[in-house]
Amino acid sequence: MAEISPHPIPIPVDVLVIGAGPAGARAALRARACGLDVLLVDENPDAGGQVWRPLPPGFARVLGSTPSTEARDGDALRAELRRAGVACLFGHKLWNVGTSLRADLIGPEGSMSWQPRALIVATGTTERVVPFPGWTLPGVIGLAAATILLKSQNMLPGRRTLVAGTGPLLMAVATGILKAGGEVAAVLDLASQGDWLRTLPSLAARPDLLWQGLQWQARLRAAGVPILYRHGIRSVEVAGPGFNICTQRVDAGGQPISGDAAPMFEADAVTVGHGLVPGTDVTRLLRARHRYAAGLGGWVADADADGRTSVAGLYVAGDGAGIAGAAAAGAHGELAALACAHDLGRLGAASHARERDRLQASWRKSARFGHAMAGLMALRDGAVAGIAPDTVVCRCEDVTRAEIDAAARDGARDMNQLKAWTRCGMGPCQGRSCGDVAGALLAIHAGSREAVGCFTGRAPLRPVSLAEVAGDYTYADIPIPKAAPL
């Protein structure tokens, strides 16, 4: 009988870094500088994460064009990784992690496992969209998606786009559309101008960002783009080849204020986003302790300032550990790598303390702005309360708010029971699109986010096919133990 070998024999590395964005790439570089055997893994074709996405293969910047700061930072990071000779596995999907921290990956050549002594998780965030009627229509995309289209694919979302939601991406996307030659129908912001003004102190150390923000505002006004603060989308309907978008006024909590007439807009694309949610797939799978922190984006692994979680050998870094922004992410990645090197006995306490103090100071400085933005992006209870009953909340399974409320009234008291009774979270997105909003909806009945918890972390971390996992085999390759009892 052929020997069953689902994966090549695990090869030891010191530290496996999951995610090659600002945090993960910096963690890998620092770990290598500390003399550790590092492997950096990302499902994307190159490093940079979401915020520093490279151009698509075969694209080149036009000579004489001025790349943006992000483009420059991303190119610099990728170059540094190559120069430092960090071992990278791009285009590889992490689908499972064992309690020993063994990582199971699938890449173009098949499946493989790596057994590290430590794991640094820097998987970033996903975007949250609070549902509204019409949010699932083709042509309605996330703000992060619009950013990727504009900056990486060099494409507009539409000829005339409505931009809505909350947080720093709003103005960035709206001005990005104008710069690219598109029209912006309107910008709707759940926040008020007062909310934005209150973030000014956080910009004290970043006059460049303040200046950029003012320039964006000026550009939008010059183009005559209506900017409606304390407004959100009430509904999007198909109208010919485009959309009619009904808006609504909201209060400070995001709750729609009925009765007030609110403008309607026409556009052929809508881009909307209501903040970022840290990705906790891996840490939940490994049963690390988590806590709910609305100001950091939601549920996060309970970690110390260096990213150590409640599971030995498991570290988190970057926005996936709690939103603090791209600038802070790099420092956080380095802090995690240093802690890891120290914990593995490869960095003395004195050297560690020196570097750590410097990096923590740098992190605090950068995080001030990131935290202020996270505050703007935090999920607003009123927005959740205002979701109309027939609105789909779980996109994969078409589960509506009404069905979630019915399950709650029937006695569903935690996310897993909600999942069992409604199928919310059972689809291929594995709760990434709906989990945060569904949790907030259930919490209305159960009392708190802590009370309802999270979906239990499960493998696979991303959908993988039977063919990818099973590989090539014959019937004889399947180990058949003793027969079932008669």
Binding site: E43, N44, P45, Q50, L55, P56, P57, G58, F59, A60, R61, V62, S65, P67, T126, E127, T136, L137, P138, G139, V140, I141, G142, A144, A145, I148, L149, L150, Q153, N154, M155, L156, P157, G158, R159, A180, G181, V392, R395, C396, E397, D398, G427, P428, C429, R432, S433, R462, P463, S465, A467
Partner: protein
């Protein structure tokens, strides 16, 4: 008016790839999701219960709305680069109303 923005980049070679048996013009290296979006094909599948049209949403491989078939593999098209002679099938085409 094309949705493609040519101010700051030079794209790779123009290519054609096949979608449900029809040719679509695109540029090598762009994501299939973006190429279809630019070609006006925004609906890529139907939702499983209600049959409502769905298309790209997150552009980062998370939402699973932009899935397409490439031979025997089902992939998010936002994570699939256009190459010459690529053949893809939308879910609606291959599976009918099943998403």
């Amino acid at each position: 008016m094309s949705l493609r923005v040519d101010q700051a980049v030079r794209r790779g070679p123009a290519v054609r790839f096949m979608v449900d048996g029809h040719a679509v013009e695109a540029f090598e290296g762009e994501s299939v999701a973006a190429a279809l979006f630019a070609a006006g094909t925004r609906a890529l599948r139907q939702s499983p219960r209600d049959g409502t049209p769905r298309g790209l949403f997150c552009m980062m491989g998370s939402c699973q709305e932009c899935l397409v078939w490439v031979g025997a593999r089902k992939l998010p098209s936002c994570q699939l680069a256009v190459v010459a002679a690529l053949e893809i099938e939308t879910l609606s085409y291959r599976e009918g109303h099943l998403g």
